[in-house]
Amino acid sequence: MYDFLIAPFTEFEFMRRALVGALALAVGGAPVGVFLMLRRMSLTGDAMAHAILPGAAVGFLFSGLDLFAMTVGGIVAGFTVALSAGLVARSTELKEDASLAAFYLVSLALGVLIVSFKGSNIDLLHVLFGSVLALDNATLILIAAIATISLFILAVLWRPLVLECVDPNFLRSVSKAGAPTHLAFLALMVLNLVGAFHGLGTLLAVGLMMLPAAAARFWAKDLTSMMIVAIVVAILSGVIGLLVSYHSGAAAGPAIILVAGVFYAVSLVLGPIGSLKRLWAPGRHLEA
C-alpha cells in the first residue's frame, strides 16, 4: 500500500513537484470552475484556453520555452480577449458567447500561425499538452501564487459575484459593482488558465476547472458545499491521476483529467442531487 500510494512521491522529486503543482491548480481552479458553471459559462473556459495560445506563442517566438515570456504573453492575450469580449457583450446587442467565440477563434488561428513560423511539432505539443512532470521552481511558485491570488479575490468578490448570477438587476439597482466584478472574474479565469497551461497545457487546463465543478453539482445543494466538493474532487483527481500515470506510464496531464472525468461519471450516475439516479431509483414519494 505504502509502496503504491506514498513511495512514488517520497522517492522522486519530480513527482513531489507535480503533486504540489496539481494541488495548487486544484485549489485555485475548482472554485472558479463552479462559478463558470453556475453562470452558464462552462464552455467559456475552453474558449479562453484557446485564446491564450497566441500570447504564449509570441512569448515562445521571442524567447523559446521561457516561463516568464510565455506567461506574460498568455496573460496579455487572455486579458485582451476576455475584456474585449466582455465589453462588447455589455455595450452591444451581441451576447457574451457569440462575442467571445469571435475573439477566441481569431486569437487561436493567430496562435497556431505564430507557432508554425518557428518551432517544431514537439514545441507545439508542449504548449498544447503541458508537462506536469517537469515543473521547475519558478513555475511552481507561479502556479502557487496564482492559486493564492485567485482564492483571495474570490473571497473579496464573493457577494457581488453571487448576486450578479442570481439577480443582476438587483445588483445594478443597489451598486455599480456589477461590471467591475464581471471583468475581475474573467481576469481570474485567465490567470488560472495561464497557471494551468504550464502544467496541463492549454487544451487540458480547462479540465481540472470544469469537471470537478460539474461533478460537485450532483453532490451539493448550496454554493458553499458545492465549492468544497469541487475542490476535494480536483485534489483527488490530481493525486490519483499522478499515481495512475506513475504506475502505468501514461502521460500525466491526460491521466489527471481522465480521473476527474471518472469522478464526473460516477457523480452523474450516483450523485444524490438531480443525477441520473432519479431515473433508475426515484424512491417512494414522501408524506409532505
Binding site: L38, V156, R159, P160, V162, L163, C165, V166, D167, P168, N169, F170, R172, S173, V174, S175, K176, A177, A220, K221, D222, L223, M226
Partner: protein, 247 residues
C-alpha cells in the same frame, strides 16, 4: 408637499425609439401610485429609468433620494435565476446591501432583522431551503422580505402580483399599506384595474405618453382606458426624429 420624483419632459426608450414619451409630472413624497397601461406602454421602462438602469433619451428625472441604494426596486420575477444554489436566508439578507455593502459583516442585530423580515412575509422555516424549491408565490414573498430589509424611502414594484393567489396578494398588499403608513413613496405597475381602484389612491395611466394622472377614480374611466389602448401602436421603423422640443 415635497416631491419624491420630478419628471421634466422625460423620454426613455431603446435604440432611439421612445417607450416613454415626453413625461412631465411630480410624484409627491409618501404617494402610493399605481402605474397602469397596456403591454408595451412603457411601464417597466419608466421604472428602469427611475432606478437609472437605462439612460434617458431626453429630459431629466429628479429624485429626492439621490443615491441608488435608497431606492428599492423589484423587477419582474422572470429575470431572476431560480436555479442558482442560494438559500432563502442569503437571498433575503442581500436586502442589507446598503448597510453591509460589498464586504461588510452582518451584525447580530441584523440577523434578527433578517429573521423578522422572513417571518413578516410568512416564510418561517424556509430559511435554509434553496430558491429553486420555492413556488412562484413563495419566491415573491421572499423578494418582499428583501424589500423590507432594504428599508428604502422610494419603492418601485414591477407587476409584483402576476400569477399570485388571492391570499398572497392580500398579504403583500398589507405590507405595501404598512410602507404607505410609514410615509414611503411607492410606485407599482399593475394590470388589475379593480385592485388599483380598491387599494391605490393615485394612478398614472400610461400609453407611451401620459393618458391621465391623478386620483384613481378620475383616471380609470372607460373613456381614458379606450384612449390608452388606441395610443399604444407598434414601433414605426421609419419614424421621423421627434420635433416636439425643436419647434
Amino acid at each position: 408637499m415635497t416631491a419624491a420624483l420630478n419628471f421634466r419632459n422625460v423620454t426613455l426608450g431603446y435604440d432611439r425609439h421612445p417607450a416613454v414619451h415626453h413625461l412631465t409630472g411630480t410624484v409627491a413624497a409618501g404617494a402610493l401610485l399605481a402605474i397602469i397601461g397596456p403591454n408595451g406602454a412603457g411601464k417597466s421602462t419608466l421604472l428602469k429609468g427611475i432606478v437609472g438602469a437605462i439612460p434617458t433619451l431626453d429630459g431629466v428625472i429628479e429624485r429626492a433620494q439621490a443615491r441608488r441604494e435608497d431606492i428599492a426596486y423589484l423587477p419582474q420575477i422572470a429575470e431572476i435565476d431560480r436555479s442558482f444554489p442560494i438559500t432563502i436566508y442569503d437571498l433575503v439578507a442581500m436586502g442589507l446591501w446598503r448597510r453591509a455593502g460589498l464586504f461588510g459583516a452582518i451584525a447580530r442585530g441584523e440577523r434578527d432583522d433578517i429573521e423578522k423580515a422572513i417571518s413578516a412575509v410568512g416564510l418561517e422555516g424556509f430559511e435554509s431551503r434553496t430558491i429553486g424549491t420555492l413556488s412562484g408565490g413563495q419566491m415573491q414573498r421572499a423578494l418582499f422580505a428583501r424589500l423590507l430589509l432594504q428599508n428604502a424611502q422610494l419603492i418601485l414594484l414591477d407587476e409584483p402580483f402576476t400569477s399570485l393567489d388571492a391570499k398572497t396578494i392580500s398579504d403583500l398588499i398589507d405590507l405595501i399599506r404598512r410602507w404607505h403608513g410609514e410615509r414611503r413613496t411607492i410606485l407599482i405597475v399593475l394590470h388589475d384595474l379593480d385592485l388599483a381602484r380598491a387599494q391605490f389612491p393615485e394612478t398614472l395611466l400610461l400609453a407611451r405618453e401620459v393618458v391621465a394622472w391623478g386620483k384613481t377614480p378620475e383616471v380609470l374611466t372607460a373613456e381614458n382606458l379606450l384612449k390608452a389602448r388606441q395610443m399604444c401602436e407598434a414601433f414605426d421603423r421609419h419614424a421621423e426624429v421627434c420635433e416636439t422640443d425643436l419647434a
